[in-house]
Symmetry: C2
Subunit: 564 residues, 2 copies
């Protein structure tokens, strides 16, 4: 192997301060990010500016993304942007029997490099991705259907934050045990027993990242970087509709690994043909010892049951609830909820679905509001937020796939429509499918309504569920979390007692709770280094981003002891 262009010394000098700050922040959980959120912050010191990023993305269209991987038996691709354009990029399709052994070849050197070196190499990868944030933003936008600003932020700095957070957790977990120890046990009058001990974090094997359609980078980076930072090779199998952002990620990772003197095959991509379903084949290969997956409950459950040779981390479907019991900021509540329901057309795993509202109405600082008034006012608030087409496009993005569109269309048949979905024209991308959310009124007591609100209806659909009382709302919340899972729970209440009951329900059923949000923080958003994404303790996900449990079992520690 050629001499490394990036030395450990350089990488540590450049990235150790960032790592240290990340380590500090996961302890304090205060606000911090090294990745600027504003598009204008890019374009200097080697990062691509707005126009350069767009040009870089445009230059990718219609090309073959040759990652230089061994075992490429074919080239596949066929992504069509939810905004209507065909990307025309082709990617390596792997001969797994060739690719997997080459991925193992570099693991020994990667293991021997140690936790700090692995961490700073990961940080260099993230730095170069950060420099290309504008390019990634277009890649995320045109695969997920997110609006540009959201693709930029959630697909760029926020995803990079989550990747860095995973590196920090992985690093600190590996250095809990020292590299060496001297152990001397007194034996009374006899000579003490003495041993020299060496402790080495070792990888489990090859990790498989199964990417998702809606947040390829944000949901992909934690697992990818947690596995890589703990010494594992990582095979990336993107969602067939969202290959480009992860392919670019693999490209950057391979480039940095090679420059730092490691085998670039430690990170590889395999794309698939439509309907090929290679995830099942990959997931049960004996070489694959870790799997990260975001997607349907059905396939997540399949992985947990069948990929028994691997540690499996899944984020699946859930039903997110907001209890609306009372508020001292009625307008703030409505506009906060309206934004949460509209953002990315409700296509976030954290978007509220069921709004539980007492059928006798709620107390507000403007006086009591009936159930019908609350729902009508919320519908008005959403309508107002999305009344201007330009703003609507900027907020909604596009419907990611035909399934979501079909669900949206079917939703209006489930009950009384409080707010009808509206088609919005996107002047820049006339083929984009853009729809405003639908709000459907349901009676919580009716069995046919329950069939609707107790299933995940992923997309811009929410249910205003009338309930008998706050107690019933909390009971329904508990049942929903326990049976269906939840990534988020929200509640609006001015009652200490109700707040306590909701909080206790979330503690016992294990769900993350946001209380009385009326400003610029939304229940569907979490911040790396501070907020946990999911709890790992209810059916929506078996892991949280990011905590000790997310990283601790991706490696093992081997001890070698010798007499001193």
């Amino acid at each position: 192997m050629a001499a490394a262009e990036l030395t450990a010394h350089q990488l540590i000098a450049q990235h150790r301060p960032t790592l240290d700050q990340a380590l500090e922040t996961i302890r304090t959980r205060a606000y911090w990010s090294p990745h600027p959120e504003h598009p204008k912050a890019y374009g200097e010191s080697g990062s691509l500016g707005m126009a350069e990023g767009k040009a870089a993305f445009d230059a990718l269209l219609g090309t073959r993304l040759d990652l230089g991987q061994p075992g490429t038996d074919d080239w596949v691709g066929g992504e069509v942007s939810p905004y209507g354009i065909e990307l025309g990029v082709t990617y390596p399709h792997a001969d797994i029997d060739v690719l997997l052994p080459t991925m193992r070849a570099g693991q020994r050197a990667w293991r021997d490099a140690g936790a700090e070196m692995r961490a700073v190499v990961c940080l260099e990868i993230l730095k170069r991705i950060s420099d290309r944030t504008h390019e990634f933003a277009h890649a995320v936008m045109h695969t997920s259907g997110q609006a540009f600003m959201m693709a930029f932020q959630a697909g760029g700095p926020h995803a990079q934050d989550r990747g860095l957070e995973a590196v920090a957790y992985a690093y600190v977990e590996q250095v809990r045990t020292p590299d060496t120890a001297e152990w001397t046990k007194p034996q009374g009058k006899r000579e003490p027993l003495a041993l020299n001990k060496q402790f080495t974090p070792v990888p489990r094997g090859i990790a498989l990242l199964i990417g998702c359609n809606t947040f390829p980078t944000w949901n992909g980076y934690p697992g990818l970087f947690a596995s890589l930072a703990t010494g594992n090779a990582v095979l990336v199998k993107p969602h067939p509709r969202a290959v480009l952002p992860l392919a670019l990620t693999v490209q950057v990772a391979r480039e940095v690994l090679a420059e730092a003197g490691f085998d670039p095959n430690l990170v590889a991509l395999t794309a698939e043909r439509p309907g090929e379903g290679i995830a099942k084949t990959l997931a049960t290969r004996p070489e694959i010892r870790i799997i990260d997956y975001t997607g349907s409950t059905a396939f997540g459950d399949w992985l947990e049951a069948n990929a028994r040779q691997a540690e499996v981390y899944t984020e699946k479907a859930g039903v997110n609830t907001v209890i609306v019991e009372s508020t001292d900021n009625y307008k703030g509540m409505l506009s906060n909820l309206a934004f949460s329901l509209s953002l990315y057309s409700g296509q976030m795993c954290t978007t509220p679905q069921n709004l539980l509202i007492p059928r006798d109405g709620i107390r507000t600082e403007e006086g009591p509001k009936s159930y019908d008034e609350v729902v009508a006012d919320l519908a008005k608030s959403v309508g107002g937020l999305l009344g201007d087409d330009a703003r609507a496009n900027a907020l909604l993005g596009a419907i990611v796939n035909p399934d979501v569109k079909a669900r949206l269309e079917a939703a209006s048949g489930l009950g009384e429509v409080a707010l009808a979905s509206r088609e919005i024209r996107n002047p820049e991308f006339p083929d984009a499918v853009v729809r405003t959310p639908v709000i459907v009124k349901l009676d919580g007591a009716k069995p046919d309504a329950e069939a609707a609100y107790m299933s995940e209806c992923f997309g811009p659909v929410s249910f205003a569920v009338a309930v008998d009382s706050a107690e019933e709302a909390v009971e329904l919340l508990r049942r929903t979390i326990r049976d269906k899972g939840a990534m988020t729970v929200g509640a609006y209440t001015t009652s200490q007692e109700v707040e306590q009951t909701v909080q206790e329900a979330c503690l016992e059923e294990c769900a993350q709770l946001s209380l009385n949000l009326t400003g610029g923080v939304y229940v569907n958003q979490t911040a790396a280094f501070s907020d946990f994404h999911g709890s790992g303790g209810n059916p929506a996900a078996n892991a949280a981003l990011c905590d000790g449990a997310f990283v601790a079992n991706r490696f093992r520690v081997v001890e070698v002891r010798r007499q001193a």
Copy 2:
């Protein structure tokens, strides 16, 4: 609930220094233990001395151990000591539908007590167990068949160390995230976004400990204390032949919990009738969210496949290997190996089974020794060690059950016997089944030999396997770890090259390695706070005692956030 007799203040004042020392030691991995190993160290400051411990044990015989548990529908028992005496103790048999709900009742207060309070309550439980070490020693001896001194040390201070270690890991894992955080995100010229966040470690539910026959306390305490310290209730299902040590443990835990103002039902026992097999029923109950198990591979695999609602930690069978390639201390090597093979009649999960020896012999400081000489000298060394019946009894203990005896008897038919097993009379317990180990010579190249040495032959049986070369030995070691698992690996070599190869095999196949042990430390012994027991990365066990991964997923963190 009555006012607590043990206040948080008292408990923290008394136990925080011990906890701090444990936290420090798991970082340095130097030698430390707060639990004295010498029997004479007990008998003052409230602990039972030798005679008192024996008297306490004798007083238990023939009694009903009433733990005051709700849902006791019957009393069961029938332990017969491997030393021949009938214990005659009966224990609660639970009506699970009554017991499990009562175990959940106390969880909220236990959760709200916080990580530090839970840790010091656990330390108080361990302190009281430590005070009764002499009593526990007899209980362990007369259920496991360990000799008294080993039952005293491994079943007493060493088990208590492992419990404390688990409490330390559990504590530090829970306090990685602060109780509260203030999060303020700048928004340029606008008001910053500000949130108050609360983080609460919450238990998964009820943990199930499935105890084993040979090391009821040593293998049981890590899981029990890790689960309890992370807020879970713990149901203990002991091995039907080794109920007493864990029943006494439950008794102490319930007593301390009650005195500290908590619900004693947070820890409960259920014994079973012979052949009842309640572990399967318990393990798949929805209330059971964590399982710790030590025992057969068949049932461990069953648990992993079927108890899908729970986190499952298993220690199963393995095949432990020692490579004998060369040494500069031939006598030291032989006597070290002889002790390792003899201790507790080879009934440790860490006892070496396969000794891989080049068929052309080995280099030693006494000159070359042929394969036959090495095996004969090892046989002589074992014979010498166990030549005196009193010493043999003190080292061997008793054969724990008829299965082990049957395997031992069958072993001599597997190849040429280098050392025949010998019956030893125990003058104090004439019904005890005491046998010296058998050493059988096998040719590593022969398929029928492979069938023998590639299976776990639990008990006082070891195989001297002739191999072609050091390279072949390492290759066989790799295959054994990969296919069968290993709790321990040993190697004797003076060659840097062979040492490197063995070490690399252990790093890649993930097994704990002891090199060139010739003194008073043995491959089958590990020390809490310093050595890992198992690696969690090969088929012998899916967890290591004790590390972050062993505790991190026993609880989850629930976040509640509010606008500041």
